[in-house]
């Protein structure tokens, strides 16, 4: 496993302006190891998001909660960073930029915000990018091990599972390790073929279509493909036993997913929300909840730490298989 500091140095620093890189290199290593996000905003302070809050970076890499004293990002800092991250190829990231993010090598997602350009009422592009949120991707091996037994039905099939969590709770990290565990035959299954539809290149961090992270031997990845198209493509072409995908939300995702569920392929996926009641109110996804398409819900929280499993629910018999209320202090993941 690559050390997180080396990962930041390899995947993030080459894109950041010299002054910012120099400041980050001086930040205390212990803090940098726990970094969740780096936020750049034009004419506002550079921020590091750590598990215990956001900090501005002062001279000599000193972290402070007083944002006024921190390094102020200039317009050039932000534009050069986004230009470098796109490798001077905005045209190649048209679709991603329209959706408000790009993904760096190593699976780090960079959210962007700026001025929207509309064409016939639809978002055509984002120009004058003024805010960036670099989310540091982590590979936490074996973090899914404690919950795997809840996701497998007597070694005969994998349960359709929905991971529910708000942003920054470790959904993608958990999914990545589930893929690795299933794909490397860690469970007592013989030859589980795993198909991953990695729309944002976050789960497997593909470079030129080849995964750069350890995801196991029996995994096929459809990189950068919309879920709605990718799920059906994988079913037809790669005959997977289980399909893993991230962040449901759109109507077409739900339609494709219900097709997969009816095609006898197990599905493991995630959705934003902090409990089932919340997800039930989301358009499109609520249909999957109401019609009980899934067998298991895994609810994650960031308290006391990122990746803590709050609940594992068996949907069909409506029982709570695991709850942090019952099992105080137990943190299963990440």
């Amino acid at each position: 496993m690559i050390h997180i500091l080396k990962k930041i140095e390899r995947d993030i620093y080459p894109y950041l302006p010299f002054q910012i890189t120099q400041l980050l290199q001086q930040v205390d290593e212990a803090a940098l190891k726990n970094i969740i996000e780096i936020r750049l905003r034009t004419n506002r302070p550079l921020q590091l998001v750590l598990p215990n809050g956001s900090y501005a970076v002062q001279e000599h890499g000193k972290l402070s909660s007083d944002f006024q004293k921190g390094y102020i990002c200039s317009e050039v800092d932000v534009t050069h960073t986004i230009q470098a991250m796109s490798k001077n190829s905005f045209y190649a990231l048209e679709q991603e930029l329209r959706m408000g993010y790009i993904t760096l090598e190593g699976g780090h997602r960079v959210g962007i915000a700026g001025q929207a350009i509309l064409n016939d009422g639809k978002l055509k592009a984002i120009k004058n990018i003024s805010s960036m949120n670099i989310r540091i991707s982590r590979e936490v091996k074996n973090c899914a091990e404690p919950i795997l037994s809840y996701l497998i039905d007597h070694h005969t099939r994998i349960f359709n599972t929905l991971i529910i969590a708000p942003p920054r709770c470790g959904k993608t990290t958990l999914l990545r390790d589930i893929v690795r565990s299933l794909g490397s035959g860690k469970i007592n299954f013989s030859s589980v073929q795993v198909g991953v539809v990695d729309e944002r290149s976050e789960i497997t961090a593909c470079k030129n279509g080849i995964p750069t992270l350890d995801i196991g031997d029996s995994v096929d990845v459809l990189d950068g493909c919309p879920k709605s198209t990718g799920i059906l493509m994988l079913i037809r072409s790669m005959a997977p036993d289980v399909i893993v995908t991230d962040e449901l939300g759109r109507e077409e995702d739900v339609i494709a997913l219900s097709e997969a569920l009816h095609a006898g392929v197990s599905v493991i996926t995630s959705v934003h929300g902090d409990c089932i009641e919340n997800v039930r109110n989301r358009p499109y996804v609520k249909q999957l909840i109401e019609e009980k398409y899934f067998d298991r819900y895994v609810v994650l929280t960031d308290r006391p730490g990122i990746g803590t499993v709050r609940e594992i629910i068996s949907v069909k018999d409506e029982t709570v298989l695991f709850s942090r209320k019952n099992d105080k202090g137990a943190s299963l993941c990440c």
């Binding site: 302006p17 050069h80 230009q83 490798k87 001077n88 190829s89 190649a92």
Partner: protein, 173 residues
């Protein structure tokens, strides 16, 4: 006498060489501009259809061009690949400093190439195509002018080199 003869031959050779090398520049310029144009057409395809990152597109579009033009594009591509923070225009500028003389380009040609780099990679595909078409048209005009200059001047400079040196010899003798 022998010294005069050797000196005369030297002057004729030097004058002819000067004339031929100036003529060669006139001949090379439209040829190189044509090669740059075909690279830009190819770059448009790499951007529009294969959607390759700029450095790879620049590297690939120069395949099949002559050595000078290939070197110009590959140097630009290498500079961009090795330093993500470098802008395409800066990379083209650095590459031109290295290859301008070998490419036999004029300052006006270089200005269009710098303009070519100024918005390269910072637009969506549709806008990038429009921009490259505009650059293509400007280069076509320059190529047309360069062809006219080549037809007019290349023979003239060759004759001027040879005849001028002969005249110098006659005057000296």
């Amino acid at each position: 006498m022998l010294l005069k003869l050797v000196g005369s031959i030297f002057v004729i050779f030097a004058g002819s060489y000067l004339g031929f090398s100036i003529a060669k520049r006139y001949i090379k310029r439209p040829n190189n501009l044509r090669q740059v144009l075909s690279c830009i057409v190819s770059l448009k395809s790499y951007i529009n259809y294969t959607v390759m990152p700029l450095s790879d597109s620049l590297m690939n579009c120069a395949m099949g061009a002559n050595r000078e033009v290939t070197n110009f594009f590959t140097t630009t591509a290498d500079l961009l690949k090795n330093n993500y923070l470098l802008l395409p225009q800066e990379a083209i500028q650095r590459s031109l400093i290295l290859h301008k003389n070998k490419l036999s380009l004029t300052n006006e040609d270089c200005e269009v190439l710098l303009l070519f780099g100024s918005h390269l990679g910072e637009m969506d595909r549709e806008e990038q195509q429009k921009y490259l078409t505009m650059i293509q048209k400007r280069l076509e005009i320059l190529e047309g002018e360069a062809t006219v200059l080549r037809d007019k001047n290349s023979k003239m400079y060759r004759y001027l080199g040879v005849c001028g040196s002969l005249m110098v010899v006659l005057l000296l003798l």
